[in-house]
């Protein structure tokens, strides 16, 4: 009799599992739930979700769909949440994607972009969904399949339109002022004390017969601050080569070191003193932040440079470096775009280039009209930003949300 009963249960279970269940291929717990359906029919299963709707997510290459569903308000308390399943046809194999809490009636399906992945979601394709309500009693009810919902790929990320407008506008300013500069138009740029002190600082090192230390920071070669620093290093190295004084450039990053060697070598060549250049001037120390600080501080304490330049990307090491430099009485010029570090440099250095002044330094030192032209474009850019801030404040005060939406960037 017991064997017969077991056989009956197995047959019943096989019937339930075979009956187009979305979980047929997936997991054991589900099978056991089906078992519980068969053996404990006393408590009713939860209500089914209905009204499945899907919409393609904008600004991608067709790999995202937002699925929404409805659920009877009076039955929400009976369930713990939902499971969301996806298939490429209503009768195909459904795959579980994720879960949602019981008071949440939508799910953002972010499919995989690569083909071999099991959750791959192709562009311009149809998908079908099922939502399974999970009852507090452990029973589960699946909805009717919803779909087809189609994914669409976009050619342009519309959320980034304000950025595009800004870049184009700024590009126009840059071209205009570069053309104006080429035609010989006199462009006024306000003097920067830190830049004007560069010659004086190198001259001081020459007079004292001591080296000049140039720190490019702890950024990689792709940081804008590091790139700006390369430009300044080129001009500083040229001056140093002309004055025939010593230059030390200890580097944090190996790629930065390679580029810096090239920059300094070229500067010595331009100054007509290629014989005085040696790769030992520009060398790698380490790419561990505080080990680098220890190394550079050691150089300062032992070689006692008369002039220190700290130009580039800096983090917590800024004050440790600058205070050590201050303690040996070096004249110090610093510049960084890292806002948190600017106060430290202001306190411990003689001159500090704040934020974009670092980027502009190369143009100031070279006095190249093309470079100065781009500085004027920056001024105009700032003017537009200031105008937008004023308009934004007014719009917010008067509740004109449209303006805010117009300039909002949606990544």
């Amino acid at each position: 009799m017991r064997h017969l009963l077991r056989l009956f249960l197995i047959l019943l279970l096989a019937f339930v599992v075979d009956g187009q269940s979305v979980y047929s291929q997936e997991s054991d717990p589900v099978t056991s739930t089906a078992d519980s359906v068969a053996t404990e029919p006393v408590t009713p299963p939860p209500a089914s979700a209905f009204g499945l709707a899907g919409e393609d997510m904008p600004n991608d290459n067709g790999h995202k769909l937002r699925v929404k569903w409805q659920y009877p308000a009076e039955a929400v308390g009976d369930i713990t949440g939902f499971e969301i399943w996806r298939a490429t046809s209503p009768t195909g194999e459904f795959r579980m994607l994720g879960q949602a809490p019981n008071d949440y009636f939508e799910y953002l399906d972010i499919g995989n972009k690569e083909t071999p992945a099991p959750d791959f979601m192709a562009n311009n394709s149809d998908f079908f969904y099922k939502v399974v309500a999970i009852g507090k009693n452990g029973l589960r009810t699946e909805s009717e399949p919803g779909g087809p919902f189609r994914t669409y790929g976009q050619w342009f990320h519309r959320g980034k339109t304000p950025v595009l407008v800004g870049v184009v506008l700024f590009g126009c300013f840059t071209f205009y002022f570069i053309r104006a500069a080429k035609k010989g138009k006199e462009l006024y740029v306000r003097p920067l004390a830190g830049i004007e002190a560069v010659d004086e600082a190198i001259g001081r090192a020459t007079e004292m017969g001591k080296p000049t230390l140039y720190i490019l920071g702890i950024g990689t070669a792709s940081e804008i601050a590091t790139i700006a620093s390369f430009a300044i290093l080129g001009r500083v190295a040229k001056k140093i080569a002309e004055y025939q004084t010593q230059l030390i450039v200890p580097c944090y990053d190996a790629i930065v070191m390679s580029i810096a060697q090239d920059v300094v070598r070229s500067s010595y060549l331009q100054a007509g003193r290629p014989d005085q250049y040696s790769d030992d001037m520009v060398y790698f120390v380490t790419n561990a932040q505080f080990a680098y600080v220890a190394g550079v501080n050691g150089i300062m304490m032992r070689q006692r440079p008369a002039t220190n330049f700290y130009l580039g990307y800096f983090a917590a090491e800024s004050l440790i470096l600058a205070e050590t430099g201050n303690s040996i009485g070096a004249i110090q010029i610093a510049g960084t775009d890292q806002i948190t570090q600017i106060p430290f440099f202001v306190v411990a250095c003689d001159y500090t280039l704040i934020g974009e002044e670092l980027y502009a330094a190369s143009a100031y030192l070279g006095r190249d009209p093309l470079l100065l032209g781009s500085l004027k474009a920056e001024d105009w850019g700032k003017g537009i930003v200031m105008a937008l801030i004023v308009v934004g404040v007014v719009a917010t005060i008067f509740g004109w949300d449209g303006f805010r939406e117009l300039i909002r960037v949606n990544l």
Binding site: I232, I255, A291, L319
Partner: protein, 207 residues
């Protein structure tokens, strides 16, 4: 030609980067990821150059017995011990006794000590710089004191001081920071344009 080829490469790659930011195509993203992979590969080879540079400079110091040459021995010894310890467990693994102990009981305390020096330097820099030289400097001084005192338990005064510190951070501090951020942002775009168009060439080692 030798001068132009790098500039053409810079222009093309920059243009690609700009386009891929606005165009959400998988093919562009794949190329973008390849560029990132190239960066890693170049970084690894550059690291070899860096290690070569480190060894050569320190070896020369020892060979020439230049001033303080003894430190170069410590640098090279540390470098070789850590490298050998890193390879003891085989390729791609560092979970051996020597490496873990060097990491936990040498590297960690040394780095933490260097970082803790910051507290001393902040103290000396604050002592020297926070002087009531002018109205603005006095405002800075008072703000600095309020921000610092909020860490100190002062009974019933703690809450209003904490609120005042919060206001200083949220309003005047944020206003100044945002102004600098906007300037930095525009400066970064301008520098990117200059590099893209070949106006700024100093990073290539030429004017």
């Amino acid at each position: 030609m030798k001068r132009r080829v790098p500039l053409i490469i810079v222009f093309c790659v920059s243009l690609f980067m700009v386009i891929q930011y606005f165009v959400p195509l998988d093919s562009l993203e794949r190329v973008y990821r390849s560029f990132l992979d190239y960066t890693i590969i170049i970084g690894v080879f550059a690291l070899l150059l860096g290690i070569w540079s480190l060894c050569r400079v320190n070896y020369d110091k020892i060979k020439r017995k230049s001033e303080n040459w003894q430190y170069a021995i410590i640098t090279l010894t540390g470098f070789f011990i850590m490298t050998i310890a890193g390879f003891l467990s085989g390729w791609g693994r560092t979970d051996n006794y020597l490496y873990q102990h060097l990491f936990s009981y040498v590297l960690v305390p040394i780095q933490a000590t260097m970082f803790s020096l910051l507290a001393f330097f902040i103290a000396s820099a604050a002592f020297r710089a926070f002087r009531a030289r002018s109205l603005l400097a006095t405002l800075l001084l008072i703000s600095g004191l309020v921000i610092m005192i909020r860490f100190v338990p002062l009974g019933f005064l703690s809450e209003p001081i904490s609120d005042l510190a919060g206001w200083i951070l949220r309003v005047p501090n944020m206003a100044a920071k945002r102004a600098i951020i906007i300037g930095v942002g525009l400066g970064a775009v301008a520098t990117a344009f200059k590099i893209m168009l070949g106006i700024e060439r100093a990073y290539l080692g030429r004017d």
